[in-house]
């Protein structure tokens, strides 16, 4: 337990010490909120959708958590050669504990990042339902754990950072755009809908949106169940691949 804790603590310390990183990574969500929110807001309202900021913000919070957690996982590539990973791999501790510590640490950072986006969305006009905030955080945790494990799994198979751009453009961007984060998927063509439905992020965005702005009902529990299931699966895959890492 102490091993997992110290690995977790290390990531938290690193996060709070790199202020420029925190501020830098808030640029993109802020831009999306302002540009999309104010840009599409009037059209969305005219189409009868209501307040677009209310719809968009949970999606942007999910996006920010998605990107942060995947990057936290992919950091493993650096760590394999420079940094703590080697130091931890020659220590008398199990690979599973190392994976747990890394995943929990990365996920915590990603959740914090999501919560900061929630805070900066308030002056922009977002008004969440504070009562269900714990449920919203639960969904954020699930998104964070899934995609930290996902990033770690990818990193075990990558030798350098060259494939990085590939991952951002062909995995993260599609995951984000096709999750219902920025537009309602009801009217979308069947093919798009199918992709959206197999995207794990979709259920996270749905749950988050219901908790923050809508009504929490039985479908929220369904979404949470799906997220927990996917998280277990991804952590298992990530752990397996990580246990095979040779450097």
């Amino acid at each position: 337990m102490r091993t997992v804790y110290i690995l977790w603590l290390r990531q938290i310390k690193r996060y709070f010490r790199s202020k420029s990183r925190i501020i830098g990574s808030l640029g993109q969500p802020l831009l999306f909120l302002v540009a999309l929110g104010f840009g599409f807001g009037p059209i969305y309202a005219k189409a009868g959708g209501g307040d677009y900021i209310q719809f968009l913000t949970p999606g942007i919070i999910a996006m920010s958590t998605l990107f942060t957690s995947t990057f936290m996982g992919i950091e493993l590539i650096w760590d394999k050669e420079f940094g703590f990973l080697k130091e931890t791999l020659v220590a008398p501790v199990s690979r599973l504990k190392i994976m747990m510590g890394r995943t929990l640490g990365g996920a915590t950072v990603a959740v914090l990042q999501g919560l900061i986006v929630l805070l900066i969305s308030l002056p922009i006009g977002f008004s969440p339902n504070w009562v269900a905030l714990p449920l919203a955080i639960l969904f954020l945790i699930m998104i964070a754990v899934i995609f930290t494990a996902f990033g770690t799994a990818i990193a075990t198979k990558m030798e350098d950072m060259h494939g990085f751009q590939l991952i951002v453009n062909f995995l993260l961007m599609p995951l984000f755009f096709l999750s219902g984060a920025i537009f309602p998927i009801n009217g979308a063509p069947a093919a798009i809908k199918a992709i959206v439905l197999i995207n794990p992020l979709t259920y996270g965005v749905r749950g988050l949106r219901a908790a923050l702005t809508g009504t929490v009902d039985i479908s929220s529990l369904g979404n949470l169940g799906i997220m927990v299931g996917i998280a277990l699966l991804f952590v298992a895959i990530g752990s397996y691949l990580f246990s095979k890492v040779e450097i």
């Binding site: 102490r2 091993t3 110290i6 290390r10 310390k13 690193r14 010490r17 790199s18 990183r21 950091e75 650096w78 050669e81 420079f82 940094g83 703590f84 990973l85 080697k86 130091e87 931890t88 791999l89 020659v90 220590a91 008398p92 501790v93 030798e159 350098d160 950072m161 060259h162 040779e246 450097i247």
Partner: protein, 268 residues
């Protein structure tokens, strides 16, 4: 020096597809020895060290470190050695103290003992005054000293040093070797090191193995190697034994990462 064998390697082999990176090598290291493991680039040094330190599984042969097998008893072996890697493995965003503390927790050293040893080790490598500074503000030599202190925190029997003085100026190299030699004498720690600086190896090593193309081509004390090759210095002997050809090593992804690290000064 006693005759106890702390490292025993028999017919060790590591293959990558058809390529034999390490080809049936055998050697022994005695307790308390300073053992130099030399060879040109791509000779199989790093691969061997990775197998000795449980990071890679061999395809054949047997290793015993302090009587334990890295394949079947990895955690027992891990407790028995400390290592300083070729590439820095400190966390730059943590302080010197935190890096040590982290190591102590991973090796489950109880808290009071851990605190006491961290202080002791940091004083030995003359970094106690700067224990609360972030490692990223340290010079190359200070980082190396900290890594050596960290590698010894759990009182290992063997210390592996993979090119410990790479990229350091002569003063710092000298200083680091003095620390290592003192520790070797006072704490009876066996030192297993690699280096490309032959005059360094000649000066500090009790015993040397030269590996080339995955095979051990010579072993003995520096004096024995020189007389065997009829050379005046270890460097001459090394070149006579391994030939003058420059080894063309294919650039690996790690080299690109190292390059990037140099250009951008590390991550972010």
């Amino acid at each position: 020096m006693n005759n106890e064998k702390i490292i025993q390697v028999k017919s060790l082999t590591k293959k990558y597809r058809d390529f034999k990176a390490v080809d049936d090598i055998s050697f022994e290291v005695r307790k308390g020895q300073i053992f130099g493991f030399l060879g040109p680039n791509g000779a199989g040094k790093s691969t061997t060290i990775k197998m000795l330190t449980t990071l890679l599984h061999p395809n054949g042969g047997e290793i015993m470190i302090d009587g334990k097998n890295p394949v079947s008893q990895p955690d027992a072996v891990r407790k028995a050695f400390g290592i300083v890697f070729q590439d820095p493995s400190l966390d730059d965003e943590l302080t010197a103290w935190e890096n040590m503390e982290f190591h102590g927790v991973l090796y489950s050293i109880p808290k009071p003992l851990r605190r006491q040893r961290i202080e002791h080790m940091l004083k030995i490598v003359e970094l106690w005054e700067r224990k609360d500074e972030l490692v990223k503000r340290f010079s190359g030599g200070m980082k190396r000293r900290l890594e050596i202190a960290r590698g010894l925190l759990h009182h290992p029997k063997v210390l592996f040093l993979d090119e410990p003085t790479l990229g350091l100026d002569p003063q710092t190299r000298n200083n680091i070797w003095n620390h290592i030699i003192d520790l070797n004498k006072e704490e009876d720690i066996t030192v297993f090191f690699t280096t490309h600086y032959m005059e360094e190896a000649e000066k500090v090593a009790d015993y040397i193995c030269i590996i080339d193309l995955g095979k051990i081509i010579a072993k003995g004390s520096p004096g024995e190697l020189k007389s065997k090759a009829k050379a005046r210095s270890l460097e001459d002997a090394f070149i006579k034994l391994t030939g003058k050809n420059i080894r063309e090593e294919e650039a690996k992804p790690i080299d690109k990462l190292r390059m990037r690290r140099r250009v951008f000064g590390g991550r972010r």
